[in-house]
């Protein structure tokens, strides 16, 4: 067998490995659908069944949810997936896992394409660099975390990488078709995830400027392709300028536009948010503090990666800058641009493209360590390998075996609660859910469309008019409820507990 066959086999192996760790136990780990996932799922389901979203709009361009509008690509993809796999967690999460695995595969070609400009590296090391980068992305906690749940950003990231890869092909081959694929692919991302409504247009402007300045013969085709892309992006650009299109930005903006000296403070606040994405504590220790975004008490990067990251940066500074360096610099600079506009900042999901340059520098650092010409390299490599294996085992154990630690950040056992209510209710039952349960109505819509309930607060008392009617009262266990229940006849029908060894009661279902 020649080298090419080995390369293909190894690449396929990496792809299957990436797919396996993304799909394994995907329905139950992470534990339950989180609030945005369930909204996407419900809209995807109604689109599949009726061609309308939850608000009755036929094949909408943007999906209204939680006071903002969700981008359409991921929801339509989930509809397709539901048509294939049914109405379940697997169907909701498989598009992310699929595109996440594809991104890993694509990253091989991207790494291979940019490393060839590092002429000082031998071809064998260039190949090794590409495989290493692919492997590191495959096992990256940052990428894995978002690939295993219904996060639309993963799909956007795939198209973003696809667009950049084809731009590099265009740069090398000067084929017009590549530029069309590149720009249109970048265009698709703005229909996929909010942050890319800023990242992608900015990237497109930079790439267009690059062609104008550095590729004079391609200026004409660049104009043409840009125009076509602009036309394709027009609906979203116009939508983004409307009140509805700006709704999400208004929800998360870091700038309260009412502040009197705002314009004086905002640039510095933006810079501070931007720099936060390069904070070592954010990258290696704590992440962004959102339970859904990292494994409990772990950062988005492995700690051992800090050493090759420093080595890689050292060599990038030391060596003369090449296309490789410029691509990395471009990705480093562009990735946090959108995330810095919003709060909380830093934010792992909104700055997701940052994962590419970081992985590439880590991989480059490892290659540089391997190129050390004395015994020290074996010592360093051995040390790194030991720490890397240990950390991966620790991470996998925490992720796959002890995911319930972050239960509250995911489904919080709402599915189990709704299923248990369904067992105890009949057509005459009135259901009252206390606000302290914290369950969003989307969960009820998705898991039991026919369930009618009333949301009540802590001061709720059973109305006298209900008399002898069956009343189910769902609440978290707390003293205030207990005191009230002591005053009226009640029966504990069922409880929902945490799915760990302690079975702590989360919710009680009372019959009043």
């Amino acid at each position: 067998m020649d080298v090419k066959v080995y390369t293909i086999l190894l690449l396929l192996l990496l792809f299957f490995f990436a797919s396996f760790i993304r799909i394994y136990n995907i329905s139950t780990t992470p534990p339950g659908l989180y609030v945005d996932e369930v909204s996407v799922a419900y809209n995807a389901y109604t689109i599949l069944k009726t061609g309308k979203d939850e608000h009755g709009k036929k094949l909408p361009f943007a999906f209204q949810a939680y006071g903002e509008y969700k981008m359409p690509v991921f929801i339509y993809l989930t509809s397709l997936s539901m048509a294939l796999f049914g109405k379940n967690e697997f169907a909701i999460r498989i598009p992310s896992a699929f595109f996440g695995s594809l991104t890993v595969l694509l990253f091989y070609f991207f790494s291979k394409e940019i490393i060839q400009y590092e002429k000082k590296l031998k071809e064998t090391y260039q190949e090794l660099f590409a495989f290493l980068s692919t492997f590191l992305l495959a096992i990256s906690p940052w990428h894995l975390q978002f690939s295993r749940a219904g996060f639309e950003a993963i799909v956007a990231l795939f198209f973003y990488l696809f667009g950049l890869l084809f731009f590099l092909y265009f740069y090398r081959e000067k084929k017009n078709l590549f530029l069309y694929i590149s720009f249109l692919s970048l265009g698709i991302t703005i229909y996929t995830y909010n942050a890319f409504r800023i990242i992608s247009p900015l990237s497109l402007v930079c790439l267009f400027a690059f062609i104008l300045l550095r590729m004079p013969k391609q200026r004409k085709i660049a104009m043409k392709v840009s125009l076509v892309t602009l036309v394709c992006m027009c609906p979203m650009i116009l939508f983004s300028l409307t009140q509805a299109g700006l709704a999400r930005f208004r929800q998360v903006t870091a700038f309260t536009w009412t502040e009197p000296n705002g314009f004086f403070f905002y640039p510095i606040q933006y810079l501070n948010n931007y720099l936060a994405h390069f904070s070592l504590s954010f990258l290696f220790s704590y992440g962004d503090g959102i339970g859904r975004h990292t494994v409990f008490r772990m950062g988005p990067l492995f700690k051992w990666e800090s050493i090759p990251l420093l080595v890689g940066l050292f060599w990038l500074v030391k060596e003369k800058a090449t296309v490789f360096t410029y691509v990395l610099l471009f990705l480093f600079l562009v990735s946090p641009v959108a995330a810095a506009l919003a709060l909380p900042s830093p934010h792992l999901l909104r700055s997701l493209p940052l994962i590419f340059p970081i992985t590439l520098v880590i991989s480059y650092g490892i290659i540089r360590i391997l190129l050390i010409q004395n015994w020290k390299k074996y010592l360093l490599c051995g040390f790194l390998l030991f720490i890397a294996c240990f950390e991966y085992v620790l991470y996998s154990d925490l992720y796959y075996n002890h995911a319930n630690v972050s239960l509250a950040d995911w489904g919080n056992q709402y599915k189990e609660l709704i299923q248990k209510i369904a067992i105890h209710k009949d057509s005459n039952t009135r259901i009252f859910i206390n606000m302290n349960v914290g369950m969003n109505s989307e969960y009820v819509k998705f898991y039991d469309q026919n369930m009618q309930y009333t949301l009540v607060d802590q001061t709720w008392k059973k109305p006298a008019v209900l008399g002898q009617e069956d009343v189910l009262y769902i609440t978290t266990p707390d003293r205030k409820t207990d005191l009230y229940l002591e005053t009226i006849p009640h029966t504990l029908l069922d409880s929902v507990t945490t799915p760990d060894a302690y079975h702590n009661v989360l919710y009680n279902i009372w019959k009043l």
């Binding site: 004086f264 504590s281 154990d397």
Partner: protein, 197 residues
């Protein structure tokens, strides 16, 4: 030569003033407890890790949730906070950070640290965070000064190297100066994230 000397002098004066302004905000403030390694925290964390999860086997607990692992992780987490880019911006000012970046850049490009005192201060800047995080120094003023001085020496050296080697240094310096003064506006509110009075 004379002009460069004058410019250097001017830069030293301006940079020193800015740095004094920044440090005056920090003096009297203790670094927050998250900068410190605590054996008690580690113990509590291990207990939580073992108890909060289901079916943690004995070998798993010994291998993954032990004091060596958790202690190393804690020291790592505490140590890298001293190199957090935002902390350095607030601690040394953007001007100081520009100097540090320049120093690092030229040290890497030339592949050597030229002066002996640079080596000493480089070693100190790496070591002093350890001294602080293990609680060997308790005096707040001393802590802040010990942390700042080595970094500032390297920073000033970096500014000199920038003047000597880069013809656009005036632009870089001016930009960093503007941001340094601008940053002062939010310094008091942001400093709270890193220290308590």
């Amino acid at each position: 030569m004379e002009t460069i000397k004058k410019k250097k002098l001017l830069i030293v004066i301006v940079a020193t003033l800015v740095v004094i302004l920044y440090l005056s905000h920090w003096l009297g403030c203790r670094l927050d407890s998250k900068f410190f390694f605590s054996a008690l925290d580690v113990k509590l964390r291990i207990i939580f890790d073992i108890r909060s999860d289901q079916y943690v086997r004995a070998w798993e607990a010994r291998m993954l949730h032990n004091k060596i692992t958790q202690g190393s992780v804690d020291v790592f987490n505490a140590y890298i906070q001293f190199w957090d880019v935002r902390f350095l911006f607030f601690f040394l000012s953007p001007l100081g950070v520009l100097g540090l970046i320049s120093w690092t850049y030229y040290a890497i490009k030339k592949q050597r640290v030229e002066q002996f005192y640079e080596k000493i201060f480089l070693a100190l800047s790496f070591l002093i965070p350890f001294v602080i995080l293990f609680g060997f120094i308790t005096n707040a003023v001393l802590m802040i000064l010990l942390l700042a001085v080595p970094l500032l020496v390297l920073g000033f050296r970096g500014l000199f190297l920038l003047i000597a080697n880069n013809k656009y240094y005036v632009y870089y310096f001016s930009l960093a100066l503007i941001f340094s003064l601008w940053y002062l506006l939010i310094l008091n509110t942001m400093i709270i994230n890193f220290c308590h009075q």
